[in-house]
Symmetry: C2
Subunit: 174 residues, 2 copies
């Protein structure tokens, strides 16, 4: 499917409500459950999404739009949230993600990007030239991937409880 | 994590709202996109979840509770929905899932299952004796797995649009 700015904006706008529906008021054991050592809990994933709002997507879109001679992105720190949110409350994190995402979707829509602007390029620290269109498509796919991760991590908390059904539930062994 | 009846009920109750937040009013191309031939779209997944409400979880729980001499489950048809919903409207499917799930969670809570009842057994057509507790844990994990599937299938619609970021998005190659 080709990238569509309106679809992207609509999907990005929904993500906080999706995650709130899944995680709001859920017991802490579910929020903090992981897939094993050095893997993320649903709580950690929300922190990572917040980092994306603050340091990745819109900041990179601004670098591309600024159109300077060297539109290089600042490397994204995938582990920033683990320290930042050490003492954060889950409800506070959800509120923060919701607020940041609403601001960032409004910013994106405010850009009123033209097809020519969607073709502008920035420089990724690892794989070089990428377009605005690819950046925004990645924002969408990244959201969806992390929603999938949240529910997969939750499903795995019942990996033993399901007994012999485990073989019929690919989500438990992925 | 051990199975907990209240947690299970709470998670099961949320699933229709989660799916509606993700899919409600989304363009048809996103609802009908798949991962390739003979794989399911988000629309198909909702149909499959409806089949579970009508023929799997609560019917099997009733067979277990009835406690007859041969508490054998009726085999579940994983492809029933493909024919049933050939001409269904997405909005109608979401409404139907929401209504059925609300009824079934009310039925589950109405059972007021005791620990002894959670240990009662039924007979699965493939792997034999399973407990009520395992059946209900599977209902929960099955829900979460299919929510993960819906958003994974959506993410894959941007598998090309993300360009070189594909290597950083495991959801696109899973």
């Amino acid at each position: 499917m080709d990238f569509d700015l309106r679809d992207a904006s609509n999907i990005l706008r929904r993500t906080p409500a999706t995650i709130r529906t899944i995680l709001g008021d859920i017991p802490d054991a579910w929020l903090r459950g992981t897939e094993g050592p050095d893997t993320w809990s649903p709580f950690d994933v929300v922190g990572h999404l917040i980092d994306g709002e603050e340091t990745d997507w819109i900041p990179r879109a601004r670098i591309i739009l600024a159109g300077g001679p060297n539109p290089a992105f600042v490397p994204f720190d995938r582990f920033r949230h683990l320290e930042t949110n050490r003492r954060a409350e889950p409800a506070g994190l959800l509120d923060r993600f919701e607020r940041l995402r609403a601001e960032n979707v409004a910013t994106l829509e405010g850009f009123r990007l033209t097809p020519a602007q969607l073709a502008l390029e920035g420089i990724h620290p690892e794989f070089g030239r990428v377009t605005m269109r690819q950046l925004l498509a990645t924002w969408v796919a990244h959201d969806l991937g992390h929603v999938a991760q949240i529910v997969r991590v939750m499903a795995k908390q019942y990996g033993d409880a399901v007994g012999p059904w485990k073989r019929y539930l690919p989500v438990l062994t992925r």
